[in-house]
C-alpha cells in the first residue's frame, strides 16, 4: 500500500492550516488597527446613501407628493481648515494647524490651492465668499473641539475620523450647477456632491390634510427611534442568510418623518431603506483608497390613493373659504374620492411657517372631516327613523300632530317651524325635518334601541379610515326619556364626524352595508409590482328591512324635491339627502350640514358637507355648496338648466 500517502495527506492539511494562521496573523496583528478603527494610516469609514421616499399618487396616477433630488455641496475638511487658518491666523490656537503647516512644506501636491474652492463655489453658486467661509468656520470649530477632547483624553496628538470627512457648505443646489462640478471634477477637487431628497407636493394646497406633511426628527425622537432599533437588533435572533433587518439602519439624525395624513400613516411603507457605503481611507492624503462595499439604497413603496385629484379640486372649490369639510365617497366600496377641509395649509411651506400655522386660531392642521366631532342635528333623524321602523314602534301609517312644539315632563321641545307641520307621518317628517315627529317617536322608542341602532351605524366609534388621529365622536348612554328625545333629533351630548355621517348615508344608498372608508388603493414597489392592496377589515351588513330602506330613500329624495332642500337646484342632479342644522347654543352660531348621495336611483357618489360656525341654517348654507359640487360631478346634467 502507500503509507507515505497518509503523510502527504496530513501535510496538505497542515499547509492549509498554516495558510489560515498566516491570514489570522495578517488580520489580527498587522491590520488590527484598521479594523479597530484606531489606525493612523488607514481606516474604514461608512457613508449613508439616501433612499428616495415613495411617491404618492392619486387613483389616476397623478402625482401628489414626490421626492425631488436636490444636492448638497460638501468640501473636504483639510480645505476648510486651510481657509480657517488663513483667515484666523494670528488668533488661532488650534493644534491641528501645526500639523498642516509642517505638511505644507513636505507635500505641496495635495496642499496646493486649498483656498481656490471658495472663489470657485462662490462664482458657481452665486453665494458670497464670506457666507461660504462662515459655514466652513462652524464646521472647523466643531471638529477641532472634538479633536481637542480626544487628544486631551489620549494625551497625544492624534487624528480623528472627522478630519477625513466632508462638510456641507451649501444645500439645495440645482442640477445645472451640480453638472458643472461633475464635468470639471479636476478643477473642483476636494468637493463632493451628495444628492438629498426633498419632499415636494406638486399640487400645492390640494388635499394637505390627506397627504399630511413631514418634518425633521428632533433629538429626543431620534434617540427613541435608535433605541427602539437597537433593542430590536439585540432581541432578534437573526437566522440564516436573511439579514435584511440587520441592514436596515432605521432613522438617522435629521431625517424627515411623516407627521400627519398618509405621510404618517404609511411612513413605514414610504420611508425606504438608506444604503451604506464602506470606504477604506488613507490618512496620509485623506483620499479614498477603495470602496469596500456598497449597499444601494432601497426606495420606499409608491402609494396610490383612492383620491381623484379632479374631484378633490371640485370639493375644495365648492367649499371655498367656509370653515368646514366636504367628503365625497364611493358608497359601494368606501373609497374616499375627495376629502376637503378648510382652513388648510400648503405642505410645501409647512417647515417654513410651522410656528405660525400651529398657533393660528383657525387650526389649519385640523382635518375637520375626521377630527371635527360635532352634533349632527337633523342628519341623525335617519337613524332614529331606522330604529323606530325596524323595531316596529312606528310604521308608515303612524302620524303625529306638530303644533310647533311638544313637551315632556314640563320640558318644552320646539320644532324648527314655530307654526307647526300639522299631521305628519315618516314620509313627511324626514323631508320637512319635523322635530316633533321624532320627539314623539323617541318617547315610545326608548333609549336602548336607539343606542343599539346608533352603534350599529358606527356612531361613537372610529370608522377605521387609514388616517392618523381620527376622532370617534360620542354616543351618549341615555337613561331618561328627555335625553333620548334630545339625541333623537341629533342634539345633546351626541357628537359625530362628517365621515361617520357620510358612511351612514352610504349604507342607505347601497342597501344597508356599512363600508370601510379608506384612502389606500395600492402600494407598489420600485418595479411597479403591487405590494399591498386595500383589504377591508370590517364591512358589515346591517339588519335593515328592504321596506325600511325604501321608505328612507323616498323620504331623502323628497327632501330635495319638496322638503327642506327644495329650490336649491339639486333635483336636477338626482340628489337624495338630508339637511341639518346643529345648534351650538349661541345665537347665530350653527353648524350647517348636508349629507346624501346621487344619483338617487343608482348611487355613484355619497357626500357629506359641513359648514361650521355659520349664522345660517342647513340648506341655505350647504345647498349652494352642494349644487356647485354636483354641477362639477355631473357636468352632463348642467345643460338642462
Amino acid at each position: 500500500m502507500y503509507p507515505y500517502r497518509f503523510k502527504i495527506t496530513l501535510i496538505i492539511f497542515i499547509v492549509f492550516f498554516i495558510g489560515i494562521v498566516v491570514r489570522l496573523f495578517q488580520l489580527q496583528i498587522i491590520e488590527s488597527n484598521k479594523y479597530k478603527g484606531i489606525s493612523q494610516n488607514r481606516r474604514i469609514v461608512t457613508y449613508p446613501l439616501e433612499a428616495t421616499r415613495g411617491t404618492i399618487f392619486d387613483r389616476n396616477g397623478k402625482m401628489l407628493a414626490v421626492d425631488q433630488h436636490t444636492f448638497d455641496i460638501a468640501v473636504q475638511y483639510k480645505n476648510l481648515l486651510y481657509c480657517y487658518v488663513r483667515d484666523n491666523n494670528a488668533v488661532s490656537r488650534i493644534d491641528g494647524m501645526k500639523v498642516h503647516k509642517n505638511a505644507k512644506k513636505t507635500c505641496g501636491e495635495c496642499h496646493e490651492n486649498q483656498d481656490v474652492w471658495v472663489e470657485k463655489l462662490s462664482q458657481l453658486l452665486g453665494i458670497p465668499q464670506n457666507e461660504l467661509l462662515s459655514h466652513a468656520k462652524q464646521a472647523v470649530e466643531k471638529v477641532e473641539r472634538l479633536k481637542q477632547n480626544v487628544e486631551q483624553k489620549s494625551g497625544r496628538a492624534t487624528r480623528i475620523k472627522e478630519e477625513a470627512g466632508y462638510y456641507p457648505i451649501a444645500s439645495d443646489v440645482t442640477w445645472e450647477k451640480v453638472i458643472q462640478i461633475e464635468i470639471n471634477q479636476n478643477s473642483y477637487s476636494g468637493i463632493r456632491v451628495t444628492p438629498r431628497p426633498k419632499r415636494i407636493y406638486p399640487q400645492q394646497e390640494l388635499a394637505p390634510h390627506i397627504l399630511g406633511y413631514m418634518s425633521k426628527l428632533n433629538e429626543k425622537e431620534w434617540k427613541m427611534y435608535s433605541d427602539k432599533w437597537n433593542n430590536f437588533i439585540l432581541s432578534s435572533n437573526i437566522k440564516g442568510t436573511d439579514i435584511t433587518p440587520l441592514l436596515y439602519d432605521g432613522y438617522a439624525e435629521n431625517d424627515y418623518i411623516g407627521r400627519s395624513g398618509v405621510e404618517l400613516e404609511y411612513e413605514n411603507e414610504l420611508h425606504g431603506e438608506r444604503g451604506k457605503r464602506f470606504e477604506e481611507i488613507t490618512y496620509k492624503n485623506t483620499q479614498v483608497e477603495k470602496v469596500i462595499l456598497e449597499r444601494p439604497p432601497v426606495s420606499g413603496n409608491d402609494l396610490y390613493l383612492t383620491i381623484d385629484t379632479q374631484i378633490q379640486a371640485y370639493a375644495e372649490k365648492s367649499l371655498g373659504k367656509n370653515p368646514g369639510s366636504i367628503i365625497v365617497m364611493d358608497p359601494w366600496t368606501g373609497e374616499i374620492l375627495a376629502m376637503a377641509s378648510y382652513p388648510c395649509f400648503n405642505p410645501n411651506d409647512v417647515n417654513k411657517d410651522f410656528k405660525k400655522l400651529i398657533k393660528h386660531p383657525s387650526k389649519p392642521f385640523l382635518n375637520r372631516a375626521i377630527q371635527g366631532a360635532l352634533p349632527p342635528g337633523s342628519i341623525f333623524k335617519v337613524i332614529t327613523a331606522t330604529a323606530a321602523l325596524s323595531t316596529n314602534r312606528i310604521n308608515t301609517q303612524t302620524n303625529y300632530e306638530c303644533h310647533g312644539y311638544t313637551n315632556y315632563q314640563n320640558i318644552i321641545f320646539r320644532c324648527w317651524s314655530e307654526y307647526g307641520h300639522g299631521l305628519v307621518a315618516i314620509q313627511d317628517a324626514i323631508p320637512y325635518s319635523c322635530n316633533v315627529f321624532f320627539l314623539e317617536t323617541a318617547k315610545i322608542l326608548g333609549g336602548d334601541s336607539l343606542y343599539t341602532w346608533a352603534k350599529n351605524f358606527g356612531i361613537g366609534e372610529k370608522t377605521g379610515i387609514d388616517l392618523p388621529h381620527e376622532r370617534s365622536g360620542n354616543m351618549p348612554k341615555m337613561t331618561d326619556t328627555a335625553t333620548v328625545m334630545n339625541v333623537a333629533i341629533g342634539q345633546g351630548a351626541l357628537l359625530t364626524t362628517p365621515l361617520q355621517l357620510a358612511r351612514i348615508y352610504a349604507a342607505v344608498a347601497n342597501g344597508g352595508t356599512l363600508v370601510q372608508p379608506h384612502l389606500l388603493l395600492k402600494l407598489t414597489d420600485g418595479q411597479g409590482k403591487i405590494v399591498r392592496l386595500f383589504k377591508p377589515e370590517k364591512k358589515q351588513k346591517l339588519p335593515i328591512q328592504p321596506a325600511t330602506l325604501d321608505t328612507l330613500r323616498t323620504a331623502l329624495l323628497d327632501v330635495v324635491t319638496r322638503g327642506t332642500a327644495k329650490n336649491t337646484g339639486l333635483e336636477l342632479y338626482k340628489v337624495a339627502g338630508k339637511t341639518g342644522t346643529a345648534e351650538t347654543g349661541r345665537q347665530e352660531d350653527n353648524h350647517a350640514w348636508f349629507v346624501g348621495y346621487a344619483p338617487y336611483d343608482s348611487p355613484q357618489y355619497c357626500f357629506a358637507i359641513l359648514v361650521e360656525h355659520t349664522p345660517g341654517h342647513g340648506a341655505e348654507i350647504t345647498g349652494p355648496i352642494a349644487r356647485e359640487l354636483m354641477s362639477y360631478l355631473f357636468p352632463e346634467l348642467n345643460e338642462a338648466s
Binding site: 500517502r5 494562521v21 491570514r23 489580527q28 496583528i29
Partner: protein, 379 residues
C-alpha cells in the same frame, strides 16, 4: 484457522484500552470552547439547546461504538440508496427553510439528509474501493465519480453548495489513499477544473454565483448580504488583536453586527473575543485532532476501515478549513459549520457519528485480518 464463533466474539468485544484517550480529551476541550462561544454569541436558550444536542451526540457516540463498523460498511450500499432516496424526497417535498429545501420534518425533528450523505458517501466509497490492492483502474474511478456526483448534484440543487463541495475532497482523499495512480489523480483534478465552468453555468443558482463573485471581487459584489457578512466578519476578527476583547465582550459579536454568529461565523467570534493567540490554540486543537485521525488510519490494517477513517478525517478537515476561511475572508461564504463548535443539531449529530466511527475503527484495529469471518462479514 480459528473457529468462526471465537473470532466473532473477539471482533464483537471492544476493549476500553483501545479507546483513544488522546483524541477524546481533545474533542472534549473543543466542545467546551464551542459551548462557551455559542453562549457568548447567542443566549442561554441556545446554550441549553446546544448542551442537549451534545448530550444526544455523546449518547449516540457510545451506542454506535457497540456495533462493529464493518456491519455499517456491510450495509453501505443500502444506506447509500436510502439517503439518496431521502435527498430526492427532500427536493420534492421538503419544507422551505430560508428559501432552500435542505430539511424535512418527521414529527418535531428536522432532518437534513445532506449532512448524513457525507458519512454515507465515505462508507460507500470505502466499501467499494477496499480491496483494490493492485491499483485502481479507470473503471473504479468511474464508479467512484458516479457515486459522488449523483448525491452532489442533488445536494447542490437543494441548494446547499457547502455540503456539496465537501464531497469532492472526500472522494479525492479516499481515491488517493486507496492507491490511485498519481497521473490519474492529476488528470481527474484537471478534468474537474475544466468542467467547473459548466457547473458554474448550469448548476449554480444566481445567488450562489453572487456569493462566489462576492468572494473573488468583493467590491463588485451585487449580493450585498455576502459582502456584508465578509466585511463584518473581518472587522470582528481584526478587532480581536493579539489578546482579544475578552469573552462576552466582542463589540461585533455583542452588538449583533455579525450575522450567523453562533453557527457559521462562530470562529470570528472566537477570534474577536479571544484574540490571535487563543484562536491559534483552537486551530492547534483541530490539527491535533486531524493528526490523531490520520494516525488511526495509518495504524488500521483493515483496508475498509482505513479508507473510512481517511474519508471522515478529510470531511472534518474540509469543514474546518472552509469554515475558518469563511470567517477570515479567504473562502467563499457557502454555509459550512465548524465541527463540534458551531450551534446546530444536524451538524453536531453528524460530527459525533463520524467521530464514533473513527473510534470504532481504532478500537477494532487489532483484529485478525486473516480471519475467515472478516471476509464473510464484508461479502
Amino acid at each position: 484457522m480459528k473457529p468462526v464463533s471465537t473470532t466473532k466474539t473477539m471482533i464483537r468485544s471492544v476493549s476500553p484500552r483501545n479507546f483513544d484517550w488522546v483524541l477524546f480529551p481533545i474533542i472534549c476541550i473543543i466542545l467546551t470552547i464551542g459551548v462557551l462561544f455559542v453562549w457568548s454569541a447567542s443566549s442561554e436558550k441556545f446554550l441549553f439547546k446546544q448542551l442537549v444536542w451534545i448530550a444526544m451526540g455523546l449518547t449516540l457516540f457510545f451506542i454506535l461504538l457497540y456495533f462493529d463498523y464493518l456491519s455499517f460498511a456491510h450495509y453501505a450500499y443500502i444506506i447509500y440508496a436510502c439517503v439518496l432516496f431521502l435527498l430526492i424526497l427532500v427536493l420534492g417535498m421538503g419544507g422551505a427553510v430560508k428559501g432552500s429545501q435542505r430539511w424535512f420534518t418527521i414529527g418535531s425533528f428536522s432532518v437534513q439528509p445532506s449532512e448524513f450523505m457525507k458519512i454515507t458517501l465515505v462508507l460507500t466509497l470505502a466499501r467499494f474501493l477496499r480491496y483494490k490492492k493492485y491499483g485502481i483502474g479507470l473503471f473504479d474511478i468511474g464508479v467512484s465519480l458516479l457515486l459522488t456526483f449523483i448525491p452532489m448534484v442533488l445536494i447542490m440543487k437543494q441548494p446547499d453548495l457547502g455540503t456539496a463541495l465537501v464531497l469532492v475532497p472526500i472522494l479525492l482523499s479516499i481515491l488517493y489513499t486507496a492507491g490511485i495512480r498519481l497521473y490519474h489523480l492529476f488528470m481527474l483534478i484537471g478534468a474537474g477544473l475544466a468542467i467547473s465552468p459548466l457547473v458554474w453555468m448550469f448548476m449554480l443558482k444566481s445567488y450562489q454565483k453572487m456569493r462566489i463573485i462576492g468572494f473573488l471581487w468583493p467590491e463588485k459584489a451585487m449580493d450585498w448580504g455576502a459582502g456584508y457578512h465578509r466585511l463584518q466578519s473581518l472587522i470582528a476578527v481584526g478587532s480581536g488583536g493579539l489578546f482579544g476583547t475578552g469573552w462576552g465582550n466582542g463589540v461585533q459579536n455583542q452588538m449583533k453586527f455579525l450575522p450567523e454568529r453562533h453557527t457559521d461565523f462562530i470562529f470570528a467570534v472566537i477570534s474577536e473575543e479571544w484574540g490571535f493567540l487563543r484562536a491559534c490554540f483552537v486551530l492547534f486543537l483541530y490539527i491535533m485532532f486531524l493528526t490523531c485521525g490520520i494516525g488511526i488510519a495509518r495504524s488500521t490494517r483493515e483496508p475498509c476501515g482505513r479508507l473510512i477513517v481517511i474519508g471522515l478525517v478529510t470531511m472534518f478537515a474540509t469543514q474546518i478549513v472552509v469554515n475558518v476561511g469563511m470567517s477570515l475572508g479567504i473562502a467563499p461564504i457557502v454555509g459550512i459549520t465548524l465541527p463540534f463548535i458551531s450551534y446546530g443539531g444536524s451538524s453536531m449529530l453528524t460530527s459525533f457519528i463520524a467521530l464514533s466511527i473513527i473510534f470504532n475503527i481504532k478500537m477494532r484495529s487489532k483484529i485478525d485480518l486473516a480471519s475467515e469471518h472478516h471476509y464473510k462479514t464484508i461479502r
